[in-house]
Symmetry: C2
Subunit: 505 residues, 2 copies
């Protein structure tokens, strides 16, 4: 995959396609340096390197943008359409066109303005958030919203869809407001009732809290052992520390990050399990086409379906707690809270809270639905930036029964997405959780012994299924077709409901 | 320095110069990503990432090469010569032309062939060296030599000098065989005698050997404290571990590496002191022009003059041993060998040995002179690859009194330079040691209390001198002029001899 071999099997007949494949291979290679430098910025870089790094990354982004908007590509794509391509090449061409389209839809000046206002907003937000300073945040956020609406208008015109749909399409190609409304509308019906029932049921449950402190080297070892249990390939990746954990690097060299606290270990452990799901997807993308768009991860919802398959489907599985328990004891020492049943109770504790990233899998969709409804209305122009807090309070009361009035820090200012103009991403988290439930429902149907296998530490059937149905498929199929081939149907939120009810009631 | 402000002060009058400055700024920014990725490859990268990283770096190298050989640059350089430039701008233009010339002198096909054969030779050498396999090494090395001679021929034609001079010019612009012959010829006269006298003098000296093991975290702390003592800015750099220590990264974010052994700490400590010299030079290059060729380090001999000013002039100074001793005791625990006088005796122990990188400062020039004489004869076509071992043995006997027959591993196969086609670099090490002695001789003349200052821990006068005379000068002056402005004369090896005699006799 690092040779210059074009993808074409009958190279002489497909000159336009071959030229495109070479261009995308070059973009992939240069993107490698971008990814590693981005990871380094988060995990290693001393503070005074920031200006030079940002300048270097902007230069690289501009260079890649020029390559992606080279006028010759339009003609090349048109000519390649007429060539005798294999099905796989045709899928690659479809993905090339999609990448080309999204790079060419926006004028350079608008992209730069968007980067400028979002960078300013995000930078100020880092101080404004802890100061609970919504009034200070609002003027910057209005600018971010304005430029995002302009971008959405242009993208929507290009794609022939609504403005919010056009933004979602960047993360989850083909996903529409109509589909999300159908899915989230259904969840909205049963979720508040389910949360109440689970909280009632857990009310008298005895849960022992782990007693710290937990040394960082011991926690790191625990995380690495959990990653090994989950099949992460340390010959092709690493675990490091960054303020905001993420999965970065490149498929050939996946860089996961986590963060450690001395008084707590489960958040960082399960965060690592989450990133390991992203990481294994990356590590197992189809190698023979690596560098081509068709070999990249399908979409962000599918990416989250892998991280949540690991963190929630597996990680909060009662059998998996039995596998974790000895690792925890061997690295952090023995204590009563580390008994498998108690670990499982800790990992499945449901409690409505204000912070999305701290939420359990039952209340999490409420956080996402609320953000989806607000950001969609913002982008479609039905509400303005100053309307957000009141709507936030109303929906938090309705969905989770919480009073969030005046608490902007733990309310609409809690996420980095809006300050950085990342509208349309939030749905991917819950769509990912639903896909993950659907994958496991399918696996159980096909392999009735699955839960027993998990409990006795045989995770190979889970990984084999995910590798076969998702990882090795890359972007060969559009999302609905990937889902049909993997599970026999498109996204069906009933599996998610069944999963929550089976696990929590 | 990361803004797009051109260097010109009268921007309207210097359009060609401004355009060049922008191009070099872009090259600098993209080079930033190259440097960080190279450091990452040595310090972090898991093994399976290597193919993708190499492909990414080749792509980047090709891209930068295309930018540097853009035909528009030739015209731009010619037009800029006619513009009303300041002295500084004219110096920058001179350095731009030098960079442009060296990129354009060689045809792309030859550069690629050189990379291919040297990469193959170096790769095989990593196994052949420990196996003492000169016969296996020879065919690859012949190819490397052949392509290096071709490159040297083209460069020499371009510059109008001898073939070996043309290769040296890549590392030490303006340096000639005539100059090196004069300097090394002089050293050759007195060095073998001096070595014998020093070895005799030290024969009965009592030196206590430190007793290990030394924990790696404690050694790391020791190295970091020594770096702080030497003024390294950790807000703009890091220390990490790699198999072959080096100073990398970018001036705004300097990445030093070292390696640790459990049974020994002085090699890694003094290696770190050495790299800190390179690092401070980088960290203190003139900021307002950073990104322009004139703001880059002058040359490799001047770079080595900084690392050796730190490692040898300062690091083996009797006063400096008194500063190191408490750091060593505080990090590694107390033991008799850590007394200041004994540390100094350990750091100034002279013993002829086969390995250049393990050599003390007295025998080191012998290693360099031997390599210089052999590689010059190789490049000029006076000898062939198969003649190297006999010459090696002869010169090692003559210069250091050692028998090296049959020991290729610790003989002509010990350095990475020849396998990787890096001919012309070796002289820089000893020229650097000589410049370092010249800088300190000048400092002492100007500041008679210097040695007392060092002994009581006041290193500020040393750093202020180096910053003023070398670091902040960047590439503003050619090497001889830099030397004259700093010390009143061009390179004069008498200072090096005086230094060695004063310290060792």
């Amino acid at each position: 995959m690092n040779s210059d071999t074009p993808v074409a099997t009958t190279a002489a007949d497909t000159p336009a396609y071959n030229a495109l494949a070479q261009t995308f291979q070059r973009l992939y290679r240069l993107g490698h340096l971008q990814s590693i430098a981005y990871w380094d910025q988060a995990a290693n870089m001393p503070p005074n390197g920031n200006d030079a790094r940002s300048a270097a990354q902007s230069e690289m982004a501009a260079l890649l943008h020029r390559m992606r908007t080279d006028p010759a590509l339009r003609d090349g794509l048109a000519r390649a359409e007429q060539e005798p391509l294999s099905d796989l090449q045709r899928a690659n061409l479809r993905e090339m066109r999609r990448a080309w389209r999204s790079s060419n839809a926006l004028p350079e000046a608008l992209v730069q303005r968007s980067q400028r206002v979002s960078s300013r907003c995000e930078h100020a937000w880092r101080m404004q958030r802890p100061a609970n300073d919504w009034a200070g945040f609002l003027p910057n956020f209005r600018e971010v919203l304005e430029v995002s609406r302009e971008e959405a208008t242009l993208l929507a015109a290009d794609l022939g869809c609504s403005r919010y749909d056009a933004l979602m399409d960047q993360f989850e190609p083909g996903m529409t407001t109509a589909q999300v409304d159908r899915v989230f509308g259904e969840v909205r019906q049963w979720l508040p009732g389910l949360i109440r029932r689970v909280v009632d049921k857990q009310h008298d449950e005895a849960v022992l809290q782990p007693v710290g402190p937990f040394s960082v080297p011991a926690q790191r070892e625990l995380c690495e052992r959990a990653m090994r249990l989950l099949g992460f390939d340390f010959e092709a990746g690493r675990l490091d520390v960054s303020t905001h954990p993420f999965s970065g690097g490149v498929p050939e060299d996946v860089r996961l990050t986590t963060r450690f606290r001395g008084d707590e270990f489960l958040v960082s452990l399960m965060g690592t399990v989450h990133e390991t799901g992203h990481g294994r997807y990356q590590q197992n993308l189809p190698r023979e086409l690596l560098g081509q768009p068709v070999a990249q991860a399908r979409s962000m919802a599918i990416h989250e379906s892998q991280s949540l398959a690991f963190e929630m489907q597996l990680g909060s599985h009662s059998g998996f707690a039995g596998l974790l328990a000895p690792l925890v004891r061997e690295t952090l020492g023995d204590q009563p809270a580390f008994e498998a049943g108690n670990l499982h109770r800790l990992l499945t504790r449901v409690k409505p809270g204000k912070i999305r990233v701290d939420a359990d899998e039952v209340t999490y969709p409420a956080h996402v639905i609320l953000r989806y409804e607000i950001e969609r209305a913002l982008i479609e122009g039905q509400i303005e930036a100053e309307d957000v807090p009141a709507l936030w309070d109303e929906k938090m009361a309705e969905l989770l029964g919480l009073d969030t009035r005046g608490d902007y820090n733990n309310g609409p200012m809690q996420d980095v997405h809006w300050p950085m103009a990342m509208f349309g991403y939030f749905p991917c988290y819950s769509l990912g959780a639903m896909y993950a439930a659907q994958w496991f429902a399918t696996m159980r149907r096909q392999q009735p012994g699955l839960d027993t296998d998990i409990a006795r530490g045989d995770l190979a059937p889970v990984f084999a299924w995910l590798r076969d149905k998702v990882w090795l498929q890359g972007s060969r199929w559009e999302t609905d077709e990937l889902s049909r081939r993997a599970s026999g149907e498109v996204l069906n939120p009933a599996h998610f409901r069944n999963h929550l009810e089976a696990r929590y009631l």
